[in-house]
Amino acid sequence: MAKSTSSDVLTLIRSLRSAYAATPTNLKIIDLYVVFAIATAVIQVVYMGIVGSFPFNSFLSGVLSCVGTAVLAVCLRIQVNKENKEFKDLPPERAFADFVLCNLVLHLVIMNFLG
């Protein structure tokens, strides 16, 4: 039972990988960026777990910066993905410009909150 489960898992992962390999490179780059941002956020959360939440606003702005940019990256991915018919008419350059602008506004707020 256990063996079949593990082989199922292996099969699942393999099929997932092969399906993912077909993803366009630019989406992969965005995925990588999201993973990078989330990983940075996780490291900060772990640090907070070890030493405590003082100074809280610094911690909060650090984590929110990572999570915020990850969310924005996910939005970018949705708009850039050609499979999404909803954003078919939207050029990827326009989506990228939105991404850059939103990031700049987000980080202005973050910097103000950082203290």
Binding site: T25, K28, I29, L32, Y33, V35, F36, A37, A39, T40, I43, Q44, V46, Y47, I50, V51, G52, F54, P55, P91, P92, E93, R94, F96, A97, V100, L104, H107, L108, M111, N112, L114
Partner: protein, 768 residues
Amino acid sequence: MHSLFQFLRIIDLAGMSRYRWILALLAIFYSSLSICTASIVRPISESHRSAALELFVPVDESFGSLENTYEALRTFEILGLEKTYDISRATCKAVLESLGSSSSTTKDLFYALKVNGILKCQIEAINFEGIATNMLAVLKNANSLPDFYYAIGSLLLIKKKPYFIDNLAQKHGFEVILPDSDGAFHSIKALSQSDGRWRYDSNGAESSTYAAGMALEALAGIVYLADSEVDQSMIGVVKNDIVKLFDIIKSYNDGTLYFNDKYVHSSDYKSPLEISAAVVRGVTSFAEVSSGKLNIPGNKILGLAKFFLSIGVPGSSKDLFHQIESLSCLENNRKVSFNAFVVINLFVLFFLLLQDLHSTCHLTSRHCSFIDIKGSTQVFYADLYVIDVNFKFRLCCMAVELNWFPKVDVTTVFGAAAPPLTVKLVQAFNSNSEGKPIIENQELHFDKENSIHYLDIASLKMDVGKYKLIFEVSLHNLEDESKYATGGLTSFSAFFTGSIKIDKGELAILNSDGGSAETIEKLDLSTDSSLSLSANHLQKFRLSFQLTTPLGHTFKPHQVFLKLRHETKVEHLFVIDSSARQYKLILDFLGLVEKFYYLSGKYDIELTVGDSTMENSFLRTLGFVELDLPEPPEKAAQPPPQPADPYLRYGPKEEITHIFRAPEKRPPKELSLAFLALTFLPLIGFIIGLIRLGVNLKFFPSSPGPAAFSILFHAGIAAVLLLYGLFWLKLDLFTALKALCFLGPFLIFVGHRTLSYLASTSAKLKSS
């Protein structure tokens, strides 16, 4: 007087009632001391002479620098003490050295000449002609006020000695004449400001009153030295400046006037005394050389003189010199002035009390300061005086032993007698009758023997109280009026004190049924009495008495209190109101049981009657009343705990310790650094991932225009991020937003160009 009662209260609390009367006398003495020291103005007197001898003491026949020597010698000269020290040998040596040396500054030469003027050193050895030529050369190139001042001052000193001139003129055919006097006059005048003050030099922006004094003295010197007459219109302009200068004079509350400057640098600070002295020197010397009248009101000059006198006897030699010299300038002005100008010899009105030495002395302890002036009389000067109106009554019983009159002495600032004049008491106000004068236009009698003006109080019927007396001095000869400043009206405050008669004193216990009296005790408030009364809560307590002044009017003191004190030291204070001619207090014990905390037992009765003009103010125990009050109900308030020792109030207060918030715990530094490194790991992973994905810059525009825009776009983003970093580190929000206002549109522009180019290339690719 308030302090008196405070004091009496403390004595009483300390349980020293046996010595109370002695202490009360002491307290009266103490309180009058505090009044008299308020502001005392006296003419220059012996005390100034002794102060001068104490402050100016030569060490090794020298007073120090030539400037100090001059100040000492000049002070001695004015006070008539020039024979005190013989310092001419050592000082003359220093003078000759200074005058002979080529390295001496103009200031050194100026003071050397001044000292020489007083000491009259050996003049054959001095090359006056050389010095004068030097000074004329200095004057030609001078551009700052001190240069002008010292050079002109020195020339003036050389010229002013007829002794020198005769000698020099005979020997060398030499005479001091200022060749271009108009030019020098104009150069100094160019430094004046619109408000009457002067600048030190043409570059300096700061104007100063002290410089104005120097400039006026220098201008006076030029007029004196001039070869031809100086333009009268220019002298008129300077006179106008003097009037403007007196418009910015400052004043103290007591009517004294002085000059002062605002200082930017503390290094050149000059005291108001020094500045006022400089102005007085300048104005009087200018007035001396100019013809016509100076329009300075006499009361301003008198205010200045009062300022110098109000200093009293200064503690420092410089202050003493400035005080004495300025007063001497004001005093001696008439001697050198042949013009009918208004500055001024002035006299100050002194108000004083004379007391015959034969009088009994127990009252004199109230007066603080006595100076023996004319042998048989004692005089004291002050702005507040205590005058006894009871003297009339005392005269009856003591024959002519006690002889008090308010008297007015009119002298110049140096104490010299005034010309024939009349002193008039223009108005006298009582503090009770606001605005309406009690006495008007009463002329004072003149005692020729002592040259004292005095007022016979007995005929005026002045009652006890605080009075404001306004005097006016009018001169008999009209020509004196242009020489003397009397300062218009002079006002004094005086307390007229007296014994207040207390009669019809009565203490009664009344029944509540319509007020039939159960006990009535007569009170004799002139002696301590010990009445014993008893009452219950259904009865009333009544105290009444009358206060009359020596002239028979009803007297209203500041303080009339009754105090009831229980055995347990619980005190109750009642203010006694006056109704018609009587002081009356009725205590209804029924309404007071709660206030008395239902405490039955013995209550001491204490009566306080006090006023600053009442000589027999008292705080006296009348006796006690035995109160029988009902039992307290359950919820009755407890009496407050009495402080064990009233002096504890003045003891040190409890120390206040501040508790600061403990600093937050910080993690070890290594751990934080480790996590800093850890946060870079995902970034490295991201870069590795990008490389593995085979990211390239294939789409980066190759043609120069779009490439430049593209580079600018990335640089713009980097700049915004850098700005954010700076915002975090040091900039404030407004600075950061201002910078962002410029960076944002730029970024939008280049971003739009870059991305639209990319979009068009990808569209072309698709279509192909």
